[in-house]
Symmetry: C2
Subunit: 338 residues, 2 copies
């Protein structure tokens, strides 16, 4: 177990390194933070911290920089979440309130996050699985061809073309439309399967095939995961990453283009609160020198999707966590209102 002072030394190292981007030495530490001890003492502590793997030297006779493990300890034990100031919160709220539709909400959120954190922002569209159905619409495109349109409470619209096994009359269509809506409107997606299970039985024998097809298409749409979309922004902030450019940002840009990778990344965060994954904790190789700060957000109490930022492991964790948390909270509010 590390002594209290050593933890303070680690905290000071992280703070200084994040601020200056340069390895920090014992002397500079004692000057900037009043630790109440001399550089020599700090050096001993640093040696101990290095033995434990919390900090490292880029090369002999340079200052120390935190390791992933060091950042982890910092985030878990040494730093809180820095709350946004009141003016900041107002600005967030104002900016998000101007949104006109779901796309706009997401777009604004991305922009906002990128600006606040000066990092790359990733926002997942509100996912289907947790939301509720606002309306289901059925249109006849042809006698044996329907279009199914699903409208969710978060304003998302999904459409699917359904090829029917047999022609489906206008009357049956109206009937199905009405029955469907009376059963599933304002119900949660998760509840839909059991609610529509017995619907085919209410129809004439010749229509049952079509009804079943429509229902299974509907259920497929509900669970469809690969339709999960996300938006990213602030990639220009990658240019502030480091000095050794191309090598560092190339894999990051590549990873950011893989929606799958990003969705997995956000999905991994199970915590109800803000989740931080540091450096090698990220499964994807290209992101081994980045940290991901993410959190769920939702229109009610429940999380329907995630958002977060990707930045260098050397980032301002308290500030970033604060910004991410605040933005998530306000997006949730906006979604609940609309």
């Amino acid at each position: 177990m590390l002594s209290e002072r050593r933890l303070q030394v680690l905290r000071a190292i992280v703070q200084d390194y994040v601020g200056t981007e340069e390895p920090v030495g014992s002397k500079a530490l004692t000057e900037r933070h009043n630790l109440g001890v001399s550089p020599a003492t700090v050096r001993n502590d640093m040696a101990a911290l290095e033995d434990e793997g919390y900090i490292a030297q880029p090369h002999t006779s340079a200052g120390r920089i935190p390791t992933d493990k060091g950042y982890r300890l910092f985030v878990d034990k040494l730093a809180g979440v820095k709350p946004m100031t009141a003016p900041e919160r107002r600005a967030i709220q104002n900016f998000l309130e101007g949104a006109v539709d779901l796309d706009d909400v997401v777009a604004r959120t991305v922009r906002l996050l990128a600006q606040l954190t000066r990092q790359v922002a990733v926002v997942q569209y509100p996912s289907l699985t947790r939301s509720t159905v606002r309306h289901v619409e059925l249109l006849a495109l042809a006698p044996a061809r329907l279009m199914l349109v699903l409208i969710t409470d978060t304003g998302r619209v999904e459409q699917r073309v359904v090829d029917c096994p047999a022609p489906f009359g206008e009357a049956s269509l109206a009937d199905l439309r009405a029955r469907l809506n009376s059963r599933v409107a304002n119900r949660r997606f998760a509840d839909v399967p059991s609610l529509v299970e017995d619907l085919p039985e209410a129809f004439e024998h010749e229509d049952r095939g079509t009804v079943s097809t429509v229902l299974s298409t509907l259920l497929e749409t509900l669970v469809e995961e690969n339709e999960e979309r996300l938006m990213i922004g602030g990639t220009a902030n990658l240019t502030r990453f480091g000095h050794d450019f191309p090598l560092t940002i190339r894999p990051v840009l590549e990873a950011l283009e893989e929606q799958v990778v990003l969705l997995k990344l956000l999905g991994e965060a199970k915590d109800p609160g803000v989740t931080v994954r540091i450096g090698h904790e990220n499964a994807h190789e290209g992101l081994n020198s980045t940290s991901v700060v993410s959190v769920g957000y939702g229109s009610g109490g429940e999380a329907v999707a995630k958002l977060g930022v990707v930045g260098p492991t050397r980032m301002d964790y308290p500030g970033t966590m604060g910004a991410v948390r605040a933005v998530a909270r306000y997006v949730g509010q906006i979604l609940a209102e609309s």
Copy 2:
């Protein structure tokens, strides 16, 4: 007017520079291209080309590199469009045919373009203004609140909530829905306004306000320009841009995040064929050291949207133009089929 040989020298310079990324000197030129003359002669030609502003020296006693003006001449007079090979064309077709919906088509197109050209790809979603209406659907959300859903032939779905001035009965709704569709289905957006103009007159006086409101919402949706979306990809290719990194790519990344800028950029290309805008020809400052190769594409004979790539002015123009043209052609085919 430049002599034939001088044009050849310019062409050789462009080709070599694009290949090597290094200023090209007179000796190297005569070695790689058999111009039939000595380096000294080439030097005279180069001096002339420099006087005319087609090439420049980064510094005294270095080789020459083409200027924007030089590239312009090269593109206009000296280079054709390099057609794709048969296997390449097949690969494009196969890749695009796997798409399941519009989003997927666009996503695949972006990927493909980025891979083929090894540059940043930009694809605009098929725009509304040129396409036709497949179906208009009206749903009652509340007695005086409707949802208008517009489905286009390119598979795009737009929805709007309409607040009515007065409650609108189920019968009137069905009536309006039927009339609307019989008039506008399969008609081009541009024709819709004149086709629905007199619709309110067919309704009872008390419903006319609502009908007008619905119609104006529909028309707004049709012309809505800010709803134009686009997708970009291949930003990782920016890392191959040059040596002087952060400075060069930062503004480019920033520009790429401004949808407005990109839409304008693509919109500027008026030509029916492939359009090339080189360096300072791009209005946006951040793109002054890039070239944009773009072309319209569409499901029928007509262009409904644009796509293109953004890359360094030092790019393989014939190859890029060929790839862009080929991809546009096949996307058009795919859209027409679906």
